[in-house]
Amino acid sequence: METMKIQDITPNDLPWKIRYDASRCTLCGSCVAACSFRAIVPKVERRRLVFSEGDLPEPKARFSAVPVIRQAHSIKNYCRGCGICEKVCPNDAIGPLRNVDNRHPIVTRCLGGDSIKRGGRKNLEGTVRTLDRLRVGRISQMTDPSLDAQRHTFDLLAPFGRIMPANKLPFAVNETGQLAASGQTPPVRWIYPVIIGDMSIGALSWRMWEAVAMAVAYLNEECGLPVRMSSGEGGVPERLLKSRYLKYMILQIASGHFGWNRIAKTMPHMIEDPAGILIKIGQGAKPGDGGLLMAQKVAEHIQAIRGVPKADLLSPPNHQGLYSIEESVQKMFLSFNAAFKFRVPVAIKVAASSTSVSVFNNLVRDPYNIVGGFFLDGIDGGTGAAHEVSLDHTGHPIVSKLRDCYLAAVAQGRQGQIPLWAAGGLGKTGDLAADAFKMICLGANGVFTGKLILQMAGCVGNEMGRCNACNTGLCPVGITTQEPALAHRLDVERAAQNIVNYFLAMDQELKKLMAPIGNSSLPVGRADALISTDRAVAERLQIQYVC
């Protein structure tokens, strides 16, 4: 008998155990072929069968070599619980089971000597979300009738760009008694209040990125919803930069500046302005961290778009050389404004934090009217890759921080001048319309979302440790991988169609929420429409407490 080594890894140390029923298995091999993590392997077991052939018991033993499927005992090839094996098995012979006794956080660090990295959202399950403690409680009644969501027309648009206070508008009354602009104002785009959050080409498979871009174009051109998509930091394919679809893209630049060389070079050939520029300072899922794209995801086309070799691509946690809000961010903004000749709004995205309001206040007082939006990203947002410790243990919830920023603007009489956009776990329960509506009532002009978009396309990851392998390049559903075989698992048209359909449903639901409170335009800051049965939440957010 082999000596037992108790410190060896067994499936019981891992987060998921494979349930396998050899009697149902036809050994078709589908599960092994489909498992992108190599977490299951074919193996031969030696089986002993005792049998008796005569009239009286005469036990004999027969040994045979039986092929079976076994779980890999490896911290590299551990099962992520994605359930693809279960999906492809024709006989329901196999599937992952959550292992409550797992020692994964300990053994992985012990054996790897390295931090655990993964994608997805925060996996420490919190309590009920704050947004779920809020309800729409002010319903229009007899003297103030609610609207018919089916028949009434709604103005579901939010500003992206610096809004001038009315007394600073360059207006003059002309001889006909009309107000006419006598100077320039910063560019403002009125867009759908739900932006598809920044997910880079590189983080996403090219097919997923294409699906999102396709969905956005379709929503704009066929459905009349002016939805915008942020490119993420990875750059944009040249053909798209030169196309008329660029107007639906918000180009992002982060500290890595990935892809911007190509964007800058393509500027003379652009026939449309982009919808905006988003400067990423921080991300809610891993505040204080930079971008992280593992070498295994840096495929050839990513190398081409970003102009990099195949290596881990790490964006620094900050923009090098930019150390004060007042000067450095403005320098950046000025250069981007100048680059696009002041025709394109420039916004920044920061991670929600105890200091976010200070940053916001500084920007609100910006005398150059440069800052075209304040994107605030909270703790429940997702990411393609991060250290697990950052994902689980850093960050700040979005709801109260958004409210703080809005009320800070109110205190200065400057609400709306820098549009507030918020994200971080919105749509986590699948109901983005409700989350967006509540955030808007609390003061957001609009919201953005990333992780939910992936889930629309078929992402199987969740906040209880399922999958979350976006960092590995082995995404089993082809969303966050650059492996051609895996990426081709994603049906681009179906993914785009799902996104379009979700937005259409959400649009209808937003109207179903606006109609009862009697609003035909977005109820930004209408906190009086919300109530909470939780006194602490009500007090913190300054809304009505009900019981």
């Binding site: 609207l147 809004i163 007394n167 709306g416 009697g518 035909s520």
Partner: protein
Amino acid sequence: MCRIGAIKSRNYVHPSQALLLMQSQQKGHDNSGFAMVMHDLGGIFEGYKHLPTLSLACTDEGLKIAEDILHAAGFQRVLQWVPETNDQPGLDIITMPNYVFETFDYPKHYKKAEKREKEELLLDMRLKIRLALEKDETGFVYSFWPDVLTLKEIGDPRDIGTYFNLWDVDKRFMAKVITAQCRQNTNYDIVRYAAHPFFLQGYTALANGENTFYLKNVEFQQKLHRGYIGFESDSQCFLYTLHYAHRELGWPLSYFKHVITPLPFEDIEQRDDKDSLLSIRQSLAHLEINGPNTIIGVLPDNTLFTCCDAKKLRPIVVGRSDDMVVFSSEVCGINEIMPDRDWETDIYPHEREIVAIDENLEVHRWRQ
């Protein structure tokens, strides 16, 4: 549903006309109050049009406080009129001890001051008096402005009329523009300040309806101007928006409608002046209203106007004769005081226009 009304006349009219206008719509009242603002005063105030008149309901102590404040600031009283009251038993009215209308001359060092400077002073004085009277509820100051007089009271409008002898025409108490409402605000406790119409620096506004964007409006207006205080009613916001757009920003009246009920984006896109309309919509998104409303307003030059919410959920009709124009929530109000007019010329303003009556009683209809 509230009922509102307004009269603009070539000749001076007595408030009894306003009472009659409102009384015929009585089913729309809850008999919780009556209030009116009179512009372009006649009678005993006719000779003092250039001097500010204080409209005050107060206790004896309140009157002393108010007068002391004004005297200390250098104002000198030139006229005082205390309406005779008819305190008969059984009247449904919650009265204050004194109703005082006093006209003052400006302090000596303001005699040569610019008009704007004087106007700021008058506002400051009113705010100061209001604050002083608020302490022990010793009084309510509604307006302190040249050629303007305000009366507000809690109770049954008919009895309020009786109490102030408003049913009998008294040539000493007349005006060419009178706005009135027979109802208190339903959203809040009944307080004297909550009754429409509201007044600020020559601007009067009253409304029939709700303001669903009240919170947005208030949060924004509180920081816009020191005079934007109170907010006892959700309709008070309309006055401040009117004051801000017309006086503070200096925009023509036609843009008031663009501020409170901006055109849908797709309509703005079709307009030649889309740049300025979009800028207005962007910059003043927090002054938008989204509820059912009809607004009646008076400008400092005595222009009377009305406009509605974008859904046209509250009625208003404008009736005319050669000498008089009357706005009323219901046409029966106009029938009451202008039975001989040509009703075919009545105007029913639609959801995208402002109807304004200028000094010559000419009607202007501005399509938004």
